[in-house]
Every structure is written in C-alpha cells, then in structure tokens.
C-alpha cells in the first residue's frame, strides 16, 4: 500500500504540512514493501534539504561558462543563414579575415564529418555545407579580439544563396520530391524520395474488433504548436586547444558523454585527447542534451587559433538552436465498453521535426508507445511520422514524446466519461494498470504504482465530488493522469558498458569525493548522489563533495535526460558506497572484535547493532581501513535488467520503473474574452520514495508551471520559415500571476529497484496538467479544446462556435 504525503506551497511560500506521516514502521510492516539494503529509519534519505549548489546560485558565486575568462581569450560569433532553404553558391570570407582584430574564420568545409545525438541519425554538421536548411543555421563563424569585432565581421562574410522551395507544412514533407529538395540524404527507408525522417507502424491486439464492439468511441484531431524549453541561461561554450595538444571544452551540457563522442568524430581526435567540462547549467529541460554545432565551432576556432574561444549566444540564437517540443498533429480514437473499460486505441501522429534528426527517432516511437499506460490497453494501433522541415529542429523536451499524445488521450477519456455517464475520475480508476504487471504488447514492466492512491487523494483534497459538473458556468474542474519512464532501459549507443558508473574516494581528511558524469542541471543530481552515499555511510552531507564535471575525471554516465539520474546514477552511487561500507565495517570489526556484519552506520558512527555501547567514530573506522592502503576507493555501477520483447522498435519506452501522476485543476474561464485563469492545482505524483521531498516538490511545481505555459500561452510562432517570437517578451512563459497555488501530493510506492525505493519525478509531472486544464475548461464552459496552447482567442472561438452550432 503506497504511502501518500501531502505538502503544499502557497504563493507566499508558506508550507502547509498536511501531516500525513511517513512512518518507517508502517512501511516495514507492509508485506509488499521490497527488501532494500537500507531500510528506514533513514538519516539523510527523506529529509527536506536545499540542493548542494543552491547557495552558489543564489549568491551569484556560481560560475557559468559566460562568466569564465582566460588569458588571451577570443570571442566568437556565428554567421547564420538568412535563407530558409537554399543552395550555397559561394562563400567569401576574405573581407572578414582582413578586418583588424579578426583572428580566424571557419566554414562548413572545415569540418565535414556528420554527427547527431542518435547514431541512427547523424545528420548534422558543424556548419552548413553546400546547402542551408533553416533560417538561423550556422554558415560560418569568426573569432576576434572582441565580441563587437566578431559581430561586425560575420556580416562582412559574403554568402551567395540560391533559394529552394521551402518545406514549412509537415504535410508537404510527406510527398515525394526531388533529391535536390530533400533536406537530408538519409530519410526513412520506406519513403526514400520524401522528407520523412522516421515512420513507425505498430498494431497489436484486435483493434478493429474493439472499435466495432465499443459502446463509446471518442475521437479527435489535436493540434499542438511547437514550444521551446525557455531555460534561463542561453547557450555558451568555451573551448581551448592547449599546449599539450588536447582540446578542453567547457559547456553547460546535460550529456557531456555524447558531446565527447561527437567531438571525437568531428575533430577526428581520439576521445582521450578531449576533455569535456560541464559548467554550471542554467536550466536544460532537454534543450542542452544534444551535441551541438556551436560546441564544434568553438573547438574548430580554438584549434585554428590555439587560443581560448568563448562563444555566447543571445536568446534569439538559443531559440533557433531549439530542440523543443515537436509541433504535432495527432489524431486519436479510443474504444470503451459499456463499463467504461478501455478496449482499444487507434492513433496517428504527424510530428514536425524541423531541420535535423536530433532525438527524433525516439520522439516518433514515444508519441505512440507511451500511450500504453497508465491505463490497461488491450488493443493498440499507431502510425507515427516525423518529418524534416525548414524550421529550427525539434528534439527532446521535458516529458519527451509523451506530452502531446497524453493531452489527446486524456481529453478523449473525459469525453468517454461524459458519454457513458461516468465520473471522469471513476472512469480512470477502472482502467489503471495494477502494480507488478507487464503491459500486454510492449511488456513495459510496471513494478510499483501509486496512481490510485494519488488520484484518490487529489479528489479528496480538491473536493472533486462536490465540484465536478456542479459549479456555475465559467468555473470548472478537470483531471489528467500520466506516467513516465525512469530512464531508458537501453542505451543509445549499443555496448556492454553500464549506464551509470560512480567512483568514490575517501582519504584521511574524511572528505568523500563522488565522481560521476551525471550532469547537475539544476534538477539536483549532485545532491541526490551525495544523499545516497551519505545514507549508506551514515555521515553528514557536508562530508560529501560531488565532482560531476569532467570527462577526464568522472566515469561515464549517460547524463541527465529521460529522467534517469536518480534511478540509475543513484543506484550506482549506492553500489559504490556499499563497497566502502564493507571496508569500514571490517575496520570497525578489527577495532572492536565484533563481527563486521553487525555494524550499523549512523550519525557519523559505526555502531554495533546488538551492543550499541560498542561503537567507533566514522573517522576511527576510516583511518583503520586506510592502514597500509591509503585512500579508500570504490566503483559502483548500474545497468538496467534485460526487459521487453522482440519486435522492431520494441526497446522504445522500456524502463526499469515508471512514475505515475494524477492531477486536478480548478480554473475560471472568462466566457467573453476567452481568458483562462487557473485557480488551484492538486498534483499527486508517485516518485517511489521522495529522497528529498523539497526537491521533489520543486520538480513538480516546475513541471506544472512549464506545463501551464504549453497549456495556455507558449507557442513558437512563425512567419514562413522565420521564428516570429524568439525572445522572452513575445514567447509567453507564464508569470507568477498566471501560476496558481499548487498542492503537491507525494505518493511513495517504494519501488523495488530504485535507490531506497525512488523513481523519477522530473518529467512525468508535466504532461497531466495540460489535459487537466483542457478538461476543466470543458467543465467550465462546455467546449473541447483541440488546439494547444488554449489561448484566449481559441477558447473564445470554441465558445462562439458552440453557441452558433448549438453543440
């Protein structure tokens, strides 16, 4: 029985402790509770604590790439394509090169090797070669003594373009075209003459029968504008080709390891001659997880000049690099029997990938397969296509691939409830996957699942039963649910290496250094690794120093994406700490004469369980363990168990564990202006165990805020191929006024394989808010929203259409 605990942050940051306790005894008594190496009570796990880098951030002491300066450093600027789709006839850099203060100019021909985050779509080059495929694509770059000189010099580069027909509507990209008009030479094998990057077709179960026999078959076509991560820190990198003939790249990367690989390919250097240093990351959300052209460009200029090169982008450029959520058109139909049981799903997604592949193959799968939860789905058909177009590339963004289809499904669930005369929450309850099950086709292994408890709790807190369908016109309440992976079970690069490795080093000073390449991107990964280690060794947090920056120092970790760090790197950290613990227990045994297995590690002491008076301090045990050996070191790792089944693409969506969420939103719609004002959100999320409830709440509040942006205000707007609103005035991220009070309910289902029972909480919490808003709008004014974001003009049009057409 999962444990539910609630806490809420009001706008003035007062904490409402709802006081549902998380007593360790309850859990121990629970028969289903898994066997963990570490059973509660805990010292560190479960405590609310500020993130390790919080003080550096709020005091301004934190060093971001743009803060860094090296002697002799040059500044780089990129010349970007002013054409949407064109052949490059000629590039003449001579005028720029002749300008005083200009030290180097590079173009695409200087680095022709292709790269990309996925080995299956290595379709990017550092700069355009022969052809540009979106307005904003890097064409050349300049390094100069100052930013002003570099900025002036890029426009002194002459480029002659021959414009080509542009692909701006995804439907156009589906058509057969000439090789000249194909954006890439490699497209989906089944459509060799098109601009289709990836097509996925899956069908399982008796879909046609399900629809034939259904009592309710809600369906609709849903349109989603593209959105951008909107992280605070624009892209900024610093590269140095040093006197030892090594390249050092400072970059705020979510995945230093993939950049490391891509650099080796583009620079034609062995990986060991490259040191990627992750600097402090001012937000990522998926937008800093690809290896990027600008990283390559800085290195090329550094190689050319042998001087440190800094390349900082402005906001517009950051928007143009994009990799945000795909603009999508998703057509979905669901089938239900008379009891409200989901019997089938038929969906079709056309997603606009923009200029390059990025994570797109994964996105294409996720748009379909991540609909196989949180509900039991006995028949499933999916056709998904991702196309190339002449726009900034879409990629991975918080909730990758699951968010838009989730909106469609949850809206249709609501429609079915109305049609069948059921409460929408009740309808969902009837369909949730149980704990300890496999989904029928993809064999997603559901271990822990606290979604029922979560939904029950938010229903209770929001007074759902007295509100849904019962409030005056203009006021509404809606529900949305979801689930998400805790890391992908299979790595992008096929190899036998563990997905996470963590090294520990403890010397006589008693400080514990954790080496990992899991990237701290603001989500708290350093803190969580430190917590896992501190808990196992029974020490205070201030002993733990996390070094998670350099590929030179840290063992490989696949980085911060797909919500994998707590689960995978956390397990690796725990594994390493267990090894040190064994050494320390042996030392304590030597010092006290008690058997090693009898020792507990708590409060900076190593205590004999049966005789608590027999104890040594952590430092005593440490020094004993170090005798004739020196610093203690250990390596721990994590590799996901073999999962899934065998059909093409069957690994997409597999994860060692899944998080679940259930949200309720209450809001007001102004029926004359179409403005929507969220009033309160109750959000339950099953994260297995909250290792640090403060951080969990932060992630959920952040997810909700971000989701509200997509729900109501955020959209990337274009004029032709040009992004119209690549700045934070015109790209409408919600302000505190648009952000209502949130009450966060943490559901602890104690996952059997997560570190101390934990699973993800960084991404899954985004998707449910959007349909909760949409369904609440329906409850308020009786209209279904088929376009996201649900901007005032769209809401008003829906209200007026309903009045006019009477439906």
């Amino acid at each position: 029985m999962p444990i539910v605990r609630t806490s809420g942050l009001t706008r003035n940051n007062q904490q409402l402790n709802r006081g549902i306790p998380t007593g360790g005894d309850e859990r121990a008594a629970d028969s289903k509770a898994p066997t963990l190496t570490q059973e509660p009570p805990f010292n560190i796990i479960g405590q609310r604590m500020p993130l390790k880098d919080a003080f550096k951030k709020v005091t301004g002491e934190g060093v971001y790439t743009d803060d860094m300066k090296f002697p002799g450093m040059l500044y780089a600027r990129i010349l970007r394509s002013t054409e949407v789709h064109a052949k490059i006839k000629r590039i003449d850099t001579s005028k720029a090169e002749a300008m005083p203060g200009v030290r180097a100019v590079v173009t695409g021909k200087d680095a022709p090797n292709k790269f990309g985050v996925l080995p299956v779509s290595n379709d990017e080059t550092a700069m355009a070669i022969d052809k540009v495929i979106y307005a904003g694509e890097p064409v050349a770059a300049v390094a100069a003594d100052s930013e002003d000189i570099a900025a002036a010099a890029v426009w002194a580069i002459e480029v002659e373009y021959e414009p080509l027909q542009a692909f701006l509507k995804p439907k156009d990209s589906l058509k057969e075209t000439t090789p000249e008009l194909q954006l890439h030479d490699k497209v989906d094998k089944a459509f060799p003459k098109s601009n289709i990057h990836k097509a996925v077709d899956q069908e399982f179960g008796e879909v046609t029968t399900a629809f034939k026999e259904a009592r309710s078959t809600p369906n609709g076509t849903f349109l989603f504008d593209g959105i951008n991560h909107g992280f605070t820190e624009p892209h900024a990198v610093l590269a140095h080709w040093d006197a030892d003939e090594r390249i050092i790249l400072y970059t705020p990367q979510q995945v230093p390891h993939y950049t490391h690989r891509a650099l080796a390919k583009v620079l034609e250097l062995p990986m060991h001659r490259i040191n990627v240093v992750r600097t402090m990351v001012g937000g990522g959300f998926g937008g800093k997880s690809d290896p990027f052209p600008h990283e390559m460009i800085a290195c090329l200029l550094a190689k050319r000049t042998r001087r440190p090169i800094k390349l900082t982008m402005d906001r517009e450029e950051t928007f143009l690099v994009n990799r945000g959520r795909h603009p999508s058109e998703i057509k979905v139909a669901l089938a239900f029997d008379a009891d409200g049981k989901l019997t089938g799903m038929d969906s079709d997604a056309l997603i606009d990938g923009g200029s390059v592949g990025s994570f797109g193959v994964v996105s294409t799968y996720y748009n379909g397969v991540l609909s196989n939860g949180p509900y039991y789905l006995p028949a499933f058909r999916y056709h998904g296509k991702r196309v190339y177009s002449n726009r900034p590339a879409s990629g991975a963004m918080r909730g990758h691939g699951s968010v838009n289809p989730r909106y469609a499904t949850e809206t249709l669930m609501d429609m079915a409830a109305v049609e069948l005369g059921l409460d929408p929450c009740e309808l969902r309850m009837r369909n949730f996957l149980p704990e300890n099950c496999l989904t029928p086709f993809h064999k997603f292994r559901i271990t822990s699942n606290g979604i029922r408890e979560g939904l029950q709790e938010v229903m209770r807190l929001s007074d759902w039963k007295n509100k849904w369908g019962k409030m005056p016109y203009g006021r509404g309440i809606g529900v949305g649910c979801g689930f998400y992976i805790s890391g992908s079970a299979l790595p992008i690069h096929w190899n036998k290496l563990p997905q996470s490795t963590v090294h520990l080093k403890i010397d006589m000073d008693g400080g514990i250094t954790v080496h990992s390449l899991a990237a701290e991107i603001g989500q708290g990964s350093d803190t969580v690794l430190a917590q896992c280690v501190a808990e196992v060794l029974g020490v205070n947090m201030d002993r733990i120093h996390v070094r998670s920056q350099e590929t030179d120092l840290a063992p490989i970790d696949l980085g911060s994406y797909s919500s994998r760090v707590t689960f995978m790197a956390g397990n690796a950290a725990r594994d390493a700490a267990e090894k040190i613990r064994a050494d320390l227990a042996a030392a304590a045994s030597k010092l006290t004469g008690q058997p090693a297995k009898y020792f507990d590690f708590t409060g900076e002491k190593v205590v004999c369980r049966s005789k608590p008076s027999v104890a040594v301090t952590f430092m005593e045990a440490l020094h004993e363990a170090q005798a004739e050996r020196g610093a203690l070191i250990a390596s721990g790792c994590y590799q996901a168990p073999p999962l899934g089944t065998e059909f093409k693409g069957s690994n997409a969506g597999l994860s060692p564990s899944y998080s679940f969420s259930a949200y309720i939103c209450e809001l007001e719609v102004d029926p004359e202006t179409g403005f929507v004002q969220p009033l309160k959100i109750w959000a339950a999320h099953d994260c297995g165990r909250a290792l640090n409830p403060l951080a969990v709440e932060g992630q959920l509040e952040g997810s909700i805020h971000m989701g509200l942006g997509q729900a109501l205000t955020e959209q990337m707007r274009y004029r032709g191929g040009q992004l119209l609103n690549g700045n934070f005035l015109d790209y409408k991220i919600p302000t505190p006024f648009e952000t209502p009070e949130m009450e966060i309910v943490i559901v602890e289902s104690i996952d059997p394989e997560g570190p101390f029972g934990a699973k993800e909480c960084g991404e899954g919490g985004l998707a449910p808010i959007i349909p909760a808003v949409g369904n609440a709008i329906y409850d308020a004014v009786g209209v279904r929203m088929y376009e996201v974001p649900m901007t005032p003009d769209r809401v008003l049009r829906a209200i007026e259409d309903k009045k006019r057409l009477g439906k």
């Binding site: 930013e147 205000t713 004029r719 302000t735």
Partner: protein, 368 residues
C-alpha cells in the same frame, strides 16, 4: 545575434536649457533618453540608432509631480488653461503609481505597465513618446535582414500592409507604416483632457496631448523632433470625473497591451451624461480617442486610413448611461477599432475585445 549595444556618445545635461542646446547642436543625429526601457532595446536591435544620446536623467525639474494648488499657471502661453496636476516628463512610472495626488485611474494604468523592474526606470515622458511596435520591426538585425527589412528601418516595403486601397485603386508598396502605438498612459491621459508642455530649440509651448500624435508608424508625432516633453498637465476640470482603465494582454505582467481602453465620464446633477470620452491604445498607429460628449457630432479622428466614417457615433449628452447606451457606445468603439496583425493576438479578436472591455469599463463607471 547582433544584440550588442551600438556605440554612441552619452550626454548628461543637468538642466533643460543645456539639453535644448545639445539638441540644437546635433542637427538631428541624436536621441533623447529618459528611462531607456524603450529606446535601448531598439538600439540593441540596431533600429535607427544615432551617434548622440542625450539623457534626461539628471534634470531634476523633470522628475517632479506638482499639484496646481495656488501655484501660478505656467508662464508659457498655452492653449489649455491652468492645470490641476503637473507631472514631469522624467517622473518614473513607479513614482506615478505611488503618488496619492495622481488620479486613481492613472495610477492603476501605470501600475499595469510592463513589470516592476521596468517601471523603476521607465518614465511618463518615455511612455508617451515610445516608439510604435511591429512584429517585423522589433526584431534583431539578423531577423530583419532575413525578411528583407521594412519601411520603418533599413527597408522599402511594409509587410503588414504591402498594398493598400487608395482612392479605389490598389497601390503596391505605399510608404505607409501601420506600426502600433502601445502606450498605456496615452489614452488614459487623453480622456482626462491632458495637455503637454514641450520645450525645444524653438521655445516652449503647451498643446493638447491628442494633437501630439500623427497618423503614421514612422512619422509618429505632429511635433518637432527634439521637442522635449517637459510636463503632462492634467486640468482641474476633469479631476472629479469618473475614470478607469482596462488592459488586455497575454499575461498579467511584463506584456505590452494588445488593447487598452480608458474612459472618463462626467455626470450632471441628474446623473445624465455631460461628458464621456473613451480612449483606445494598441489598436492603431496612435492612441485613439472618441469624445462622445463633444459639441461637434464627429468623434475625434482615429486612424486616417481604416475607419469607416459611415458609422455615426451615438449621442450621449443628456442621456442616462444605461445598458442600452453602453452597448451602443461599445459597439461604436468596436466598429471603429482597427487593430493590425503586427503585435500579439489576432486583430479580429482584439477588435471584438475593444467592444467587450469598453462595455465592462463603462458599466463600472456608470455604477460609480
């Protein structure tokens, strides 16, 4: 990509006289800087920057708000009689929203401009004189170069109204710019009958605020370049009017209006309407005002290009401001509003909202 501040020389005069001398000396190659929240973002985008920037920040006399009580009127001969309140052009928006002598509607209007941080720097003069806005203009150099520039900066085309109907003929590439004036304070001050004191190399003068704006997005003003807006003068005569402000914007902070509605209402003793003015912001190249109580049956001019003059304004003087009349006025406002597709939110939607907000505002004012 070229969001770097272009080089300019900054001048910091301490008095209006000094400022005026500098203006005369630079022969057009200058800009006046007050809070800089409008000018400097445009400079960063490379929009019509000049070599000399004359800051008004150190001119103390521009930063005062004075009530008219007992003071003698401005010595300058003006067309408008002495005022109830004089607000210096350099008064910041924060100062304005906090000053108890300022009418509540104006304070409310100021309070909803931009964001707290911008209101700390942004000034009243800058707000009234701010540049017009357009999707195709408020962009980086890179962006505009990609598009091929436009009339308002570096180019020879308009992308919003590439062709127009002039005298029944379709005219391509007219030299007309329809960039939108998004000042929130302008329509608010207008309905309260504000006038402005202008000080320039040719001397000083006071004119009604309604006469300060011209009907083009590029040639925005009917005053001379280099005339400093020294004061906004609110007449005592409207001090007892009911007035209010409603703003439509995608978000409740930071954003420019996509529509602003101001109104001021004077009631006779029998509660019938004596005067009624409605001002609109962010729907046209200049702030628009309709003076429904005015003697002439013609409302104040709106955009010279797009308004349907056939739509006669409702008569309001002497009538009760009831629901029917309010609806008539709202309908008239809606019909006359002609927003363009160059700021956020669709013109058709904003036009419709002009009616809704007008009705809501007048209903509130009628209720008292």
């Amino acid at each position: 990509m070229t969001m770097l501040m272009p080089a300019f020389e900054l001048h910091q005069p301490k008095t209006l006289d000094e400022a005026v001398k500098l203006i005369a000396a630079f022969k057009g190659d200058f800009d006046i800087l007050s809070g800089g929240t409008d000018l400097l973002p445009n400079y960063k985008c490379g929009l019509n920057a000049h070599k000399n920037v004359i800051s008004l920040q150190h001119i103390a006399e521009l930063r005062e708000i004075r009530t008219g009580k007992g003071d003698s009127p401005q010595k300058e001969k003006g067309t408008v009689p002495f005022s109830g309140l004089e607000i210096g052009g350099g008064v910041t928006l924060i100062q304005l929203e906090r000053d108890k002598n300022v009418p509540a509607s104006v304070r409310d209007c100021a309070h909803h401009v931009a964001s707290p941080l911008l209101r700390e720097s942004g000034t009243v003069g800058g707000n009234l004189m701010q540049d017009t806005r357009c999707h195709f203009f408020n962009q980086s150099y890179f962006w505009r170069r990609t598009l091929g520039y436009c009339l308002k900066a570096d180019g020879d085309r308009c992308h919003v109204v590439p062709n127009l109907n002039e005298g029944g003929k379709n005219v391509l590439n007219t030299k007309v710019c329809v960039a939108t004036n998004c000042s929130d304070l302008a329509p608010m001050f207008m309905v309260l009958g504000a006038s402005v004191l202008l000080v320039g190399p040719q001397g000083s003068r006071t004119i009604p605020l309604t006469q300060m704006y011209a009907g083009d997005g590029i040639e925005r003003f009917a005053i001379k370049r280099g005339e400093i807006l020294a004061k906004i003068i609110l007449p005592a005569s409207t001090a007892n009017w009911r007035s209010g402000w409603k703003k439509l914007a995608p978000r409740q902070s930071i954003d420019f209006s996509v529509l602003g509605v101001a109104a001021a209402l004077e009631l006779a003793a029998d509660k019938s309407v004596k005067s009624l003015r409605v001002g609109l912001g962010s729907v046209d190249v200049r702030p628009v005002m309709f003076d429904y109580g005015a003697k002439s049956d013609q409302p104040a001019p709106t955009s010279y290009l797009f308004v349907d003059p056939a739509k006669a304004p409702p008569q309001v003087a002497g009538k009760k401001l009831d629901e029917a009349l309010i609806n008539q006025i709202a309908d008239h406002v809606k019909t006359c509003a002609s927003p363009k597709l160059n700021v956020p939110m669709e013109p058709a939607y904003r036009k419709k909202m002009a009616g809704v907000l007008t009705r809501r505002l007048l209903t509130e004012l009628a209720a008292g």
